[in-house]
Structures are given as C-alpha cells and as structure tokens.
Amino acid sequence: MAELTLVEAINDCFHTELERDENVMVLGQDVGRAGGVFRATAGLLDRFGADRCVDTPLAEAGILGSAVGLCMAGWRPVCEMQYDAFSYPALDQLITHVGRYHWRTGGRMTFPLTIRMPYGGGVRAPELHDDSPETYYVHTPGVKVAIPSTPADAKGLLAAAIRDPDPVVVFEPKLHYRTMRGDVPEGDYVVPLGQARIAREGSDLTLVAYGSMVPLSEQAADALAGEASVEVLDIRTLKPLDEEALLASAAKTGRVVIVQEAPRVAGFGAELAAILAEKAMLDLRGPVVRVTGFDVPYPYWQIEDAYMPSVERVVDAARRLLRF
C-alpha cells in the first residue's frame, strides 16, 4: 500500500497496465511531453516510448475515431479527453461507432478501448471545465461507465476498464485529483466493474452517490450523526449497475436520497430513482429524493458553490425524508 493522491493513483495504474500488457497505449492531447495537464500520464512517454504514449492533434473525434481503428489493429487504446466538456466533439464517434461496432460485427470483433476524463466542478475554472456529462455516456448502448470516488478505486476501476473487453468510460473527479489521498494497493489491482461499495453502513436512510458526491455524502452523514444512522452507497459503476446493492440498501433503510452533480433532468439519478420506483415500492417509507445540480449551464465560479449539491442541501433533503 502506498498513500497516493487520486491523480497519482491513476498514474500508478497506467504504469502498471502499460507494463502488464504491451497492447495498451495511451493517446490524447498533451499526454506525452507534458504528461497530461493534470499529470495523470506523467512518465509514460519516457518509460514506454512515443508509440505507446502519443500526443495527438487537437481533435477529439480524431482521437476517439482513430482509437476505433487502433482496436481493429489489435491495440487497447486509452483515450484522454482533456476536460469533461471537451469530450463533446467525440460524442458522435461514441454513439455511432464505439457503442455499436462490436455489435455491427455480430460480436466477432472487440473494441476494448477506454475513454477517461477529469470531470466535475468546484475547481474555480472558466466555463466548460466543470461539466458532469455522464448521462450522455451512460444512455449510450454498448459502452460501460465507471466513476471512482477514492484513490484506490481510481486505480482499480481504471485497471478494470483497460482490461475489459468492451468500451468503458471513466470519469475522474478532478476536484479530488490532488486534494484526496488514500491507501492504494501497489502493482496489479483491479476493482471489478458492476460492484457498488457501501462507503458507510447505516440503517435509517441511504445516500446514493458516485464520484465526488461520495465524500460529500459522507460529510452529510457526519452532519446527521446525532439524528439518524445514514448509509452511503457508492455506485462506482453506472453501467453495469449493481442493482442488487441499490435495492438491498433501499430495503434496509426504506429511505433514499440520490446525490448527483449533473443537471437533474434525465440525469443518472433519475435512472436510480426510476429503478427504485419500479422495484422497491413496497420497501420505501417515503419519496425518493434527488439532490442534484440544476438544469442550467454550469455557472461562473464565483457562484458555483450555489450550484453544486452541498452538505446543507443533502442534510435538508435527508431531514425532510426522515420526517415524512
């Protein structure tokens, strides 16, 4: 075990995975010479050479589209999108090809590519450096989606993504890249896709979250300590979803608050709520409440704190539900 920041854990994962499998390669803007604008890919160019850590032209659809072709040539490409909102030019490739090409070959050819990007707000950046775009990805058939909330998971889920035979998108909470430290197993380490994690056990109410909303939910659980025993469920992989864990926690506590940073309408929190509305009706002792970002453009940073789900908002929702 080493104590690493979240972004160091990602870097550690890359070193391990590129060493482990010579078909893994990394491509993206500034991933080579600079080692990534957040230094997630630091050291890879020197260690594995310019063929396996490639500074690409400034063209996101070109990056993802050529990764499709790289798969056809036997590579396992890992594409970096420099920021959440700069992944949008690649959505066309994602939806029309990345999610369909395996299907289009009748399952005969695989596309084991990974897309990863820093996501989310709270970092006092100019516009379009703060989006939480997971809905666009998770709604797309043929792709899987993982969002870690700890350094260990950042390593383990990325490793799982890289080794997975299907295209996987990993969103990394940039807010915690350098501010969150944690124990990270050294060397080979995989957190399987499709397994949620109970970040904190509780019996009165469940906070369901992923990514940077997990530590926030833990804070909210702390704030509620005297009032209720709060469980925090870290979803970890949005697709495949660990529906059992979700339903089990709902059955246990009977009260669920979903915390999501992305805008509310048709966000992934809606999917979680819909599953509960369909499958946990008799277990629930009150409404399924969502605490989310708002349905507006991510605001200028001086007022971004008002946009982001906060401990206050989560606590308020939890209290109202507890009193329902």
Partner: protein, 358 residues
C-alpha cells in the same frame, strides 16, 4: 492576396476513346490481370443491377446504387494486397465481393438481416459506414496501428465528395498525415451529395486541393477509368508502404443513378448530362479498351457475365433461405460481457411474446 495554385486540374486518364484519344497502358499488368480486373468490374456491375431489380421485387430494402462507380472500387481494390484494409461507405457496400465475401452477406445487410454482419478481419473489409465520413478516422487509426506493430499493411478509405465537408473527414485525414499512417484516402467525387451539387459543397477548384492542407500528395483521376484509378492507387500504396504516409486521390465520376432507391433525382438533376454520362460509363469503356487490345473475346465476356449472374442467383437464394433472425439477437453482441439487465429483458420479452402475459 496570393491564391495558391490548384493541383492538377487535368484528370489522369489511361483509357482512350477508341477514336481521337489514344489508349495508354499501365505497366506491370499482365493480360490475365487485365481480364481479372474486368471480372471484378462485371461482378460489381451485376451486383448493382440485380440489386435494383431485387429491390423493385421487394426482396431487399432501400439500396444505395453504385452504377458507374465500379471502376473506382475495382481499380483501387486491385492495387491492394489481401492484408490491406478497405473501409467502405454505403456506396461501396459490395466491395467485399472482391475479397471473397459471399453476395449473401451483403444482400442480407440490405435485407436488414443479421446475416449481413461480418467480421472485418475475415476479409480485411471494415463494416459499411452509414454515417458520412466517420470511418475516415477509423481507417487512419487502423493504418497507424498496423504501422506501430511493424506490419506492412495499409488501408484505403472510400468516401464521397459531400463527405469532405464533414469534420470527421478533416480530423481523420490530419491524424493520418501526422502519424504518417499508411492510408489512401479515396474520394469518390460523383458530383452530388443526394441533391446537393459539388458547387454547393465547396469552393475549392478541385477536391484534391485539400491534400496540400494536410501535407500529403494528391492526385486527380478519371474515376470511370479503371486503369487510371488502379495506377494512382498503386502509387499511393507504394508511398504508404515506403513509410511516406497517406495520399489523397480524387476520382471524378458522375452519379448517373438516383442516390438510392428511395430518391427521385428528376427534381434536381440535369437529365441530359446524366444521359451523356451514361454513354461514357466505366464498364463499357474498359470493355472497349480490352477489345481494342484484343485480350477479351465474346466468349470470355459471356462467361464472366454468367459467373457474376450465378454469384447473384446463389447469393439471393441463400439470403432468402436464411431463417428468420431470432429476437435473441436484439440483445446479443451489444457487449462482450453484457450488463445483467439484458438477459432479464430478453427473458421478459420471450415471456410476453410467448403469450404468457402478466
């Protein structure tokens, strides 16, 4: 301001007109090669003409006609080795025939049957790209990836004149150039994108003028001259294999047929021009060339046409004999390792279709 000079306004041609313009020749092609190339053309032509009939008979669905595009497809493919990859658009749907793909597969594709699925690696022919230009980055990536592995293979991507307006074309071409990927960009300039003429697509004097912006060589050939296309592609392939990166070929032809079976070009096209172009169509031109060369007999023509007809008869028979696809296929192949919900959905669907409702 300086206007950069346009590249090669002239079209490269090999085949003459049998009268005032003399025939040229491409060195390195044996008589057998020349006839083999003819066979390819006839196979494609037969596929296309039969498909239009099959469509009218309701045996296949909407179909993108490629009549008078056969020369660029056959000519370019003939310049490739079997290890080289072809990335077709819907306009080159049947190019797999030249790689041994059964006609049934392609016919099934147009019939909306999963038997139209194939493994690209079986023929080194990528899946048909329906969304315009989006396969250009794939071809760039494959070619680059092969090069990284030290393999000798190169790739060719077919796309239309309209496709050059898409960002995906631009990003793919630039990627290929930057990575020095062994790629041939073959632009089928048939003058139209559905109802949109080239003049509403670009102000470039010729599409080949785009090549210089990517730092790659470009050449402009008569797309209805199978030998000119072959020769230009062969040169591009040599460059690619030599590590010199991608090339751009503009193959100029004219769309004499509707865009697809659903289209009625009479509202927008110049029908006189269409008639004139039909007279210059590519298969007849090559046949005339071979006859002037004296390497093609009536019997050979008949045999080749008969073989092609057989391929199509067998193909449509096999396609129609396919058993109806099981609905289980709706859920298969979306993932190698699918989320558990898909199996549950299928079970539910089977239960409902089985009649045991609720």
């Amino acid at each position: 301001m300086a206007q950069v000079a346009a590249a090669e306004p002239e079209l490269r041609r090999v085949i003459g007109d049998g009268e005032t313009v003399a025939d040229g020749e491409v060195d390195g092609l044996s008589e057998a090669d020349l006839v083999a190339l003819y066979r390819d053309l006839v196979l494609l032509r037969t596929y296309d003409e039969r498909s239009v009939v099959y469509h009218r008979q309701g045996r296949i669905g909407t179909y993108a006609i490629f009549w008078n595009h056969e020369a660029m497809q056959a000519g370019a493919a003939f310049a490739l080795g079997d290890d080289d990859w072809i990335f077709p658009s819907y306009r080159e749907s049947a190019i797999g025939l030249l790689r041994g793909m059964p006609a049934e597969t392609i016919l099934s594709w147009w019939r909306g049957h999963p038997a139209g699925w194939w493994n690209p690696a079986d023929y080194n022919v990528a899946s048909i790209s329906v969304p315009i230009a989006t396969h250009v980055p794939h071809a760039a990536g494959l070619a680059w990836g092969k090069k990284l592995r030290g393999e000798d293979a190169c790739a060719i991507a077919f796309f239309g004149d309209g496709a050059t307006s898409e960002g995906a074309f631009h990003e793919g071409a630039n990627f290929a150039a930057v990575m020095r990927a062994p790629l041939v960009l073959l632009c089928n300039n048939n003058g139209w994108a559905i109802s949109t003429p080239l003049s509403a697509q670009t102000r470039a004097e010729a599409l080949v003028d785009k090549a210089v912006g990517y730092g790659m060589p470009g050449t402009r050939v008569d797309g209805a001259d199978v030998l000119a296309v072959y020769e230009a592609t062969r040169e591009a392939v040599e460059r690619a294999r030599g590590g010199e990166g991608p090339s751009f070929i503009e193959a100029v032809t004219y769309r004499t047929a509707p865009h697809a079976t659903a289209d009625d070009p009479r509202v927008y096209i110049d029908l006189e021009r269409v008639e004139a172009e039909k007279k210059r169509e590519c298969v007849g031109r090559y046949e005339g060339y071979l006859r002037r060369l004296g390497v093609l007999s009536d019997e050979a023509v008949e045999e080749i046409r008969g073989d092609a007809a057989d391929v199509m008869r067998t193909g449509i028979g096999a396609a129609e004999a396919e058993s109806p696809a099981d609905i289980g296929l709706v859920f298969e192949h979306a993932y190698v390792d699918p989320p558990p919900s898909l199996a549950a959905d299928l079970a539910d669907l089977r239960r409902i279709l089985g009649g045991s409702s609720g």
